[in-house]
Symmetry: C2
Subunit: 196 residues, 2 copies
């Protein structure tokens, strides 16, 4: 009992959860996505900058525009998943900082006046949030199929703008038949953690 989180929740979020490559036809509702967001929005980012932005690809027309930008091995699952989300970093997140970090509104200009600094901060913090979002999908009883195998420039041009950098595309739904491969090995504690 070293962990406070109950074993069922450990299984749901980590131990029994798998990256899924096939899905049932059951749709993913707007209410489910909202519940995921309303849970994971509380997880931390630097200065509460919250740079993650999400494009939900729902229409058949938008799906047709997305699939050709996926790596070939990702195309069939992206074409057939109940819902596909494009996760992106907002490089102009600083515009929201005075309302997101109201006790120190000067942070916006003191730290984030340079676009390069913003791109680095947005990329890192939105990536943290992408990790939280994957956990949130599982918290909703759904499975995630996160993918980095796509053409970022193509996805950016088709769905975003110059201020938004795509990070990851996630298929979302209920696992279908043979939804995952056997779990690959993980690194041992001693390969990852050193103590000084």
């Amino acid at each position: 009992m070293t962990l406070a989180l109950d074993p069922a929740a450990q299984d749901l979020l980590f131990r029994e959860a798998h990256t899924v490559n096939s899905f049932t036809d059951e749709p993913v509702s707007e209410e489910q996505v909202q519940a995921i967001y309303d849970l994971v929005k509380y997880a931390p980012t630097a200065f509460n900058q919250s740079p993650l932005r999400i494009v939900l690809v729902r229409s058949a027309e938008a799906r047709e525009r997305l699939v050709p930008h996926m790596a070939e091995g990702n195309q069939p699952k992206t074409a057939s998943a109940p819902l596909v989300a494009i996760l992106a970093a907002d490089n102009e997140f600083h515009e929201e900082l005075p309302s997101l970090f109201p006790h120190a509104p000067q942070i916006k200009d003191a730290f984030f006046s340079e676009r390069g600094t913003r791109e680095q901060a947005a990329g890192f913090n939105a990536s943290l949030q992408a990790g939280y979002f994957i956990v949130g999908i599982r918290a909703a009883g759904l499975a995630a199929g996160p993918m980095t195998g796509f053409d970022p420039a193509g996805v950016q041009k088709e769905f975003l703008d110059d201020d938004h950098t795509p990070l990851m595309i996630v298929n979302i739904g209920k696992p279908g038949e043979n939804a995952w491969k056997p779990r690959s090995p993980r690194l041992a504690f001693d390969q990852v953690v050193t103590t000084v």
Copy 2:
């Protein structure tokens, strides 16, 4: 009941969890860190590349070497937290890929022969894992104080090497008195999520 995760776990990991700035003296044991790792190691990375590496700063001598590299506002809490972890990306993660992705060992050379490609992949995937690690700290009933306010070059030189890029430093422990500020606002769903 839109979420499958039970409300107590939602509170533990997200709703009632806060970034903590002061801690009690209660130590964080090796067993607790191992339990956190053994939970979050299952969360996904691209090609299972698992590039996150963690340096636990336990000795007084190492703590003294770390504190001067922290931003001034972070120095007192880093000096007093029961445990401090340096999270870094291993830019040479590809050496482990044949064992981490055994059904396609050719990935190592086909995708990751270039150092620049590896740095980008390691940075992104280790950042995802940093998000999982923060969730894992909370799953252990502990509080996290993640910080990006430090001198990366100084921390890299003092604790890492050229192949490991520091991403974040995390104070870990039980919340002390006045451990957190009031929660800052989060962006509304419609500010973050668009549907196409």
